[in-house]
């Protein structure tokens, strides 16, 4: 079933010629077929494409092509002031823009030496966890949909919509919230917000229970997912794998615990790991993390300070000169380690902002490795199980 040994003996790269980078397979021999999965394809995550060479039903070579969503964020941020970057950064990642907002704010605050009020830290953590919940709900639907179970997708995307409603109440935006700004957050929680959050959480928990029954205990789902795309623990460092993909292989890594940021050190939670490293283990990790996220939101609503400022007044942001320096801030997003590397040269414009998205390694190098010797019908499921998201690859 899980052929770990055979998996680890495969070559490090897809079978391409080391010098020219061209495929070793002769397509004109008639033995192989080259097909493109994407960019126009329902079985692809976002707008990217896989160039697959297949022999029968088996993929023997996979090449990821990205760049369909390249907007040049890093270039655009170099010619915008810090406060002008702030509405731009959240657009890097659509399913959970808050991580971009938080990391940009945290980086700028660290460089400028701004202290953030305690309450804002709680609010930030709350939005991050809500974003994680929304993103995971969408992902569960995507993973079920990649194996043809449209029902689950319909349920979870609706539940995600209720989380988006909460965001809308909080910040006015469904998708892009622009709630976390340098210096704090943009607004206080509305009256009675905690109760409405709790109502939504109860609803989501009910659906999650159904999904656990209908998907995780489904014989056909298990048949498809178990043994698909095995990541061995040895591959984790080699390929720079982070997040649930690493935790699915039994590696205890979670930036929320390892390098606690915001108020995660005051919250009570454990790192969730699963053994196996296949698509099923990754699904289990994410299912359990969804439940954990719900639990964390409850904890925060309970422990959150009621009084205090949620925003620290910045200097005039139009002339805000951030002192020279460089820093790297990271956070644990749903897909793994999300980071902002920010370099300031003492002017009003950032010198360089580099966005480290976890999909960068997951979707390109790792996918090219894992897709080899996989049935062609499973490539979509494999791709989704890595939780790749193209805009953070090309930015």
């Amino acid at each position: 079933m899980v052929d770990v040994k055979q998996n680890s003996q495969r070559s490090k790269f897809p079978p391409v010629d080391a010098v020219t980078g061209k495929s070793r397979y002769n397509l004109l021999s008639g033995k192989y077929l080259k097909i493109w999965q994407g960019p126009q394809h329902p079985g692809i995550t976002g707008n990217m494409s896989l160039e697959l060479t297949v022999c029968g039903d088996e993929v023997i070579e996979c090449k990821t092509h990205v760049g369909y969503l390249h907007r040049g964020f890093e270039k655009l941020m170099e010619r915008r002031k810090y406060i002008q970057c702030f509405p731009l950064v959240c657009r890097i990642c659509v399913p959970e823009p808050d991580f971009n907002e938080y990391l940009f704010a945290a980086g700028a605050e660290e460089l400028a030496g701004i202290e953030v009020p305690e309450k804002a830290l709680w609010y930030r953590t709350l939005t991050l966890e809500m974003a994680r919940l929304a993103s995971f709900l969408m992902w569960i639907g995507g993973q079920a949909g990649a194996f043809g179970m449209a029902t689950i997708g319909q349920w979870t995307v609706t539940m995600r919509d209720y989380v988006l409603d909460l965001f809308e109440e909080l910040s006015g935006g469904r998708i892009y919230h622009m709630y976390i700004i340098p210096g704090g957050v943009r607004s206080d929680l509305p009256a009675g917000y905690a109760r409405r959050v709790e109502d939504t959480l109860v609803m989501i928990e009910k659906v999650l229970k159904d999904i656990d029954l209908a998907m995780m205990h489904n014989a056909v789902f298990k048949k498809r997912a178990v043994g698909l795309g095995v990541i061995t623990p040895g591959m984790v460092d080699e390929y720079g794998i982070t997040g649930p993909n690493a935790r699915g292989s039994g590696i205890r890594r979670d930036i929320r615990k390892d390098l606690p940021y915001l108020v995660y050190d005051q919250l009570d939670f454990d790192i969730i790991t699963e053994e196996g490293g296949d698509a099923y283990a990754r699904t289990r990790v994410r299912m359990r993390e969804t439940a954990q996220s719900i639990d964390l939101i409850r904890q925060m609503l309970r422990k959150m300070p009621a009084e205090g400022p949620f925003f620290r007044k910045l200097p005039n942001v139009l002339h805000w000169k951030v002192p020279t320096g460089q820093t790297y801030v990271q956070a644990e997003c749903t897909r793994g380690e999300y980071g902002f590397f920010m370099v300031s040269d003492g002017t009003e414009l950032p010198r360089r902002i580099y966005v480290r998205g976890p999909s960068y390694t997951h979707a390109v190098t790792l996918m090219e490795r894992l897709a080899v010797h996989v049935n062609i019908a499973d490539t979509a499921g494999l791709m989704v199980s890595l939780h790749t998201y193209p805009p953070e690859i090309e930015r």
């Binding site: 077929l33 080259k34 097909i35 999965q37 394809h41 329902p42 079985g43 039903d57 079920a144 949909g145 990649a146 194996f147 043809g148 179970m149 449209a150 029902t151 319909q154 349920w155 609706t158 209908a214 489904n218 056909v220 789902f221 048949k223 498809r224 049935n375 062609i376 019908a377 499973d378 490539t379 979509a380 499921g381």
Partner: protein, 303 residues
């Protein structure tokens, strides 16, 4: 002469009814599926609009003669399947062209449409089409095994290959149905029916996510309209066939509607609660337990 004309008229009426019934049933089932997913769903008459729209397309791409003939073969397969099955037992209008031995012909026709489609899809030149076709044919060969075993069991039980006589033998009470007199054959047949309707978990042939959307990748405009019409007829024909084989047929149109609706509902409910098998997995599945059940049914009949 007059008899032939009457028969032709009856056939047309029968076809008209089954086409509309198939389309409405498709629309209804889309709504049922939507209910499971928590939606309202498309209007019941949406299939009509889709067919109209497709036939009103202004342009259409032509890939060669076989590309034209593919949907025609498919339609011929659907019509052939339906026309040799008596839809309502004892009715002059809906008895169609049933004759002794029509069961074998129907089994052949179920396969025929797919083969025609394979030729058409092959000529479209799109790499997804042959992938889908190879998956479809492989899966079809697999589910034919339990189906054929079930048919053999039923045929040897009642010592006939005529569907009309099979239905006649099941009249006179619910306990005379094959479902109760020969439950093993019914189980094998109904499992293979899941494969035949190409719903989940055996929908990898036309699955959009798993690379091809299958043979009709390149089919557009009126080609697609024709395929959709055929799907309605073919679906109706298959439902009627299974109703006749295992559930005692129908003596009037109301009981036909009720029985076929329930049989269809069974596939939809299964489809809504399962993901898809891969092709190799579904072949393994069909050649496993359902085939053994089918063999058991045949052996019990032989004893």
């Amino acid at each position: 002469m007059n008899a032939i004309l009457t028969k032709a008229l009856y056939t047309l009426i029968s076809l008209f009814v089954i086409t509309n019934y198939g389309l409405l049933l498709g629309g209804t089932m889309a709504r049922v599926r939507a209910k499971v997913q928590g939606r309202i769903g498309q209007p019941v008459w949406q299939p009509y609009l889709d067919i109209l729209k497709n036939n009103f397309k202004r342009t259409g791409i032509y890939h060669g003669v076989m590309f034209y003939l593919g949907p025609v073969f498919r339609l011929a397969g659907g019509l052939g399947t339906y026309l040799f099955i008596p839809a309502v037992y004892g009715s002059a209008v809906f008895s169609n062209f049933s004759f002794s031995g029509d069961l074998l012909l129907v089994m052949y026709f179920i396969f025929f449409g797919q083969l025609g489609m394979a030729l058409g899809a092959g000529q479209s030149g799109h790499p997804y089409s042959p992938l889908g076709v190879s998956r479809g044919l492989a899966q079809m060969t697999a589910f034919e095994v339990p189906f054929a075993l079930a048919v053999i069991a039923v045929a040897s039980q009642h010592q006939t290959l005529s569907i009309t006589e099979l239905v006649a033998a099941q009249q006179g009470g619910i306990l005379n149905w094959v479902a109760f007199t020969n439950p093993l054959a019914m189980i094998a047949g109904m499992i293979s029916f899941l494969g035949m309707t190409m719903g989940n978990p055996f929908s990898v042939v036309i699955a959009p996510q798993e690379i091809p959307i299958g043979p009709p990748t390149e089919m557009q405009s009126s080609f697609l309209g024709m395929l959709q019409t055929n799907r309605a007829i073919f679906q109706g024909a298959k439902l009627v066939l299974f109703m006749n084989l295992f559930f005692g047929g129908a003596t009037n149109i109301v009981s036909m509607v009720v029985k076929t609706f329930l049989i269809y509902l069974y596939t939809v409910v299964v489809g809504a609660s399962f993901p898809r098998f891969r092709t190799d997995q579904s072949i393994r599945f069909f050649l496993g337990v359902p085939t053994l059940i089918g063999i058991a049914a045949v052996v019990i009949q032989m004893l």
